[in-house]
Amino acid sequence: MGAIGDIFTLVLLDPMINFLIILNNVLFDSYGLAIIAFTIIVRIVTFPLTMRQLNQTRAMQTLQPQIQQLQKRFTDPKRRQQEIMKAYKEAGVNPLGCLGPMVLQFPVLIALFYAIRQTLAVSPEALSNLYGHVYDWHFLEASVPLSTNFLGMNMAESNLIMVVLVGGTTWIQTRTSQTVVTDDRARAQQQMMQWLLPVMFMFFTFSFPSGVALYWVITTIVSIAFNIITYGLPILGIKPMTSAPVAQSSSLTNNMDSSDEASTTSDRKPRQHSTEARKPRDAKNRSKRKNRRRRN
């Protein structure tokens, strides 16, 4: 654990702290502007990972109706699992695919959070701790402690306005990341999270320096933007700007139709997929049938 901590500090935390100090110097000695710029830069750098994760999540959600039907259709757990995995595979979705980018970007977000916390130097002890993280370059060392005043706030102390902003942005983020769910239990869970998360974050923000809260507000605003790009914003008529990687999901139908186990005529209900996506596969099946007839 010590070695992991050292690597985390050396590779992520220290460079971030020093970059934050440089940004502060460049941005008119404004630590608030430095936090805003820094958060946006880090989110842009991790943008491909974030989008990959969001697209995977979206694709998973799009597949949910088909997955539910498979769950109902197959009673044998082993076979059910096989069919679900097959469906995911044919749809080009990796159920763990959204975890990879998240796992990769999470250390970065943690480091970002800690970098801001360290550079705030909320107490003499904290400033003393900062010494070990600032590179031995005079122009960096001469910059600390950073001025913590921003828009009339002392960013080393908690601030009610930031508490409200954290709650508001987290609520919007939760709303924009929600998709249509058919399952009642999932819907109830989603509604609970919509309120629980903002309240919890507000609670934490009460005991946080407002500089950390500012980071959270900015990173949440960026997340909202990413969510809108991925999921759209139906309430304002904004459509998703990216397409979910589920074009092959239509193969599910054939997959299910061809499975003879536990399959009944009554089960064969119309699937939710686009006709455009279905065409190539149907053509392929027709061709297969034609070949079979020729052989016979």
């Binding site: 959070f113 916390r117 107490s123 003499p124 003393s128 010494y131 060392e141 998360l197 934490f204 005991s207």
Partner: protein, 376 residues
């Protein structure tokens, strides 16, 4: 994602470096005074035959027994208490300054007083004659009446605005109060009139967290950038010498027999011979690397310099040879930031949790003082 974020945030809630204070132990009338958590002051009486044993006489504030002390929240104290004939004055991180009786009570009817100012007090309060001088992180220098805590002529009650946060303890010399800011300025004011004494403030490019007089004419001005300047007290001008250290210097130096001893955050102890004036080339011996960050001022007992680093290791250094004779690691002890103090031939060290240690340079031994706590 959000759940993981909550976990991190909740973990971080606990991890913020909250102020604990680094006031050194004080000795007065045969008793020791040590700050515990949240800036509570503990008075200890030593065992008559063994000063590695003590019992607690009183603790301040103690709202369990004294309701008047209920609303006193010092948070942390960074400078030693100021002992006056009838009172002890504490200047705290919470911005509160309290004058308590010598038996550790806040009794307004008996002359105790309490004031509160915006910002945090990180340095020490200083008493000069009938005036009390202190400064705050809000960048204000206050001069108040020591008997009441009230305002005095020529000084604004709300303090003199100096434009940047003040962490260093003010210095008073020959009726002049000198203070430094975290923006790297040093300014001097006449204590009676409040008028600036120097033509212009001294300015350096890094924060000044500590300021010290090394003789009647020269100020020691270290910066967090690792450059120490020496300035003339009369004019506020550099004397043309500056000393570069490997790490930050955040402690006052020890001056003994014309030698200046100070440590830095890189773990180096320096010794500069100033018997023939300030010349940064005159190092007595090459810097001694002790391993841990040096925040506190050392002490010399006989021919041994005793120093505690942040990692709670006590070093006994031969000042003639410039070598470490012995290092003693205090296991399971909190960080040590406070200066080491000499009392009755021993070096006394306090950790940030208020654990008190007695170091014996003759025996190369360090012992934790066993304290019989009050039951309340």
């Amino acid at each position: 994602m959000s759940f993981i974020a909550i976990l991190v945030l909740s973990a971080a809630c606990v991890g913020f470096a909250s102020p604990k204070g680094w006031s050194p132990p004080q000795f007065e009338d045969g008793n020791a005074f040590v700050f515990l958590d949240e800036g509570r002051l503990s008075a200890l009486a030593f065992d008559e035959t063994d000063n590695s044993r003590a019992r607690e006489l009183w603790r301040f504030p103690n709202d369990d027994l004294y309701p008047l002390e209920d609303d006193i929240d010092l948070k942390a104290v960074y400078g030693p208490p100021v002992f006056l004939e009838d009172f002890i004055i504490l200047a705290a991180y919470s911005g509160e300054i309290v004058a308590i009786t010598r038996d550790g009570r806040y009794e307004p009817g008996s002359g105790s007083w309490k004031i509160s100012v915006p910002g945090e007090i990180i340095g020490t309060a200083v008493v000069a004659g009938d005036r009390l001088i202190f400064a705050t992180s809000e960048g204000r220098l206050y001069v108040r009446d020591v008997a009441t805590g009230g305002g005095v002529d020529a000084w604004p009650v709300n303090g003199k605005e100096l434009g940047a946060s003040i962490w260093a303890s003010p210095i008073v010399s020959d009726g002049v109060v000198i203070t430094a800011t975290m923006k790297g300025t040093v300014q001097a004011f006449n204590l009676e009139t409040g008028i600036a004494v120097w033509d212009a403030p001294f300015k350096k490019d890094s924060a000044i967290a500590v300021l010290a007089l090394i003789n009647e004419n020269v100020l020691f001005v270290p910066g967090l950038g690792g450059i120490i300047d020496f300035i003339d007290v009369q004019s506020g001008q550099s004397i043309g010498q500056s000393f570069e250290t490997e790490g930050w210097v955040w402690s006052a130096p020890l001056v003994k027999d014309g030698i200046l001893y100070f440590g830095d955050f890189a773990g180096n102890l320096y010794a500069l011979d100033i018997t023939k004036g300030i010349n940064v080339e005159n190092q007595v011996w090459p810097p001694i690397f002790v391993g841990g960050k040096i925040k506190g001022k050392p002490v010399i007992i006989g021919q041994t310099l005793v120093l505690a680093d942040e990692d709670a290791t006590v070093h006994f250094i031969d000042i003639e040879k410039g070598i470490i004779n012995y290092s003693f690691s205090l296991i399971d002890t909190a960080d040590i930031f406070a200066s080491v103090v000499e009392y009755e031939g021993f070096a006394w060290i306090v950790s940030e949790n208020g654990e008190l240690f007695r170091a014996d340079p003759d025996m190369n031994d360090v012992k934790e003082v066993s304290i019989l706590k009050r039951s309340d």
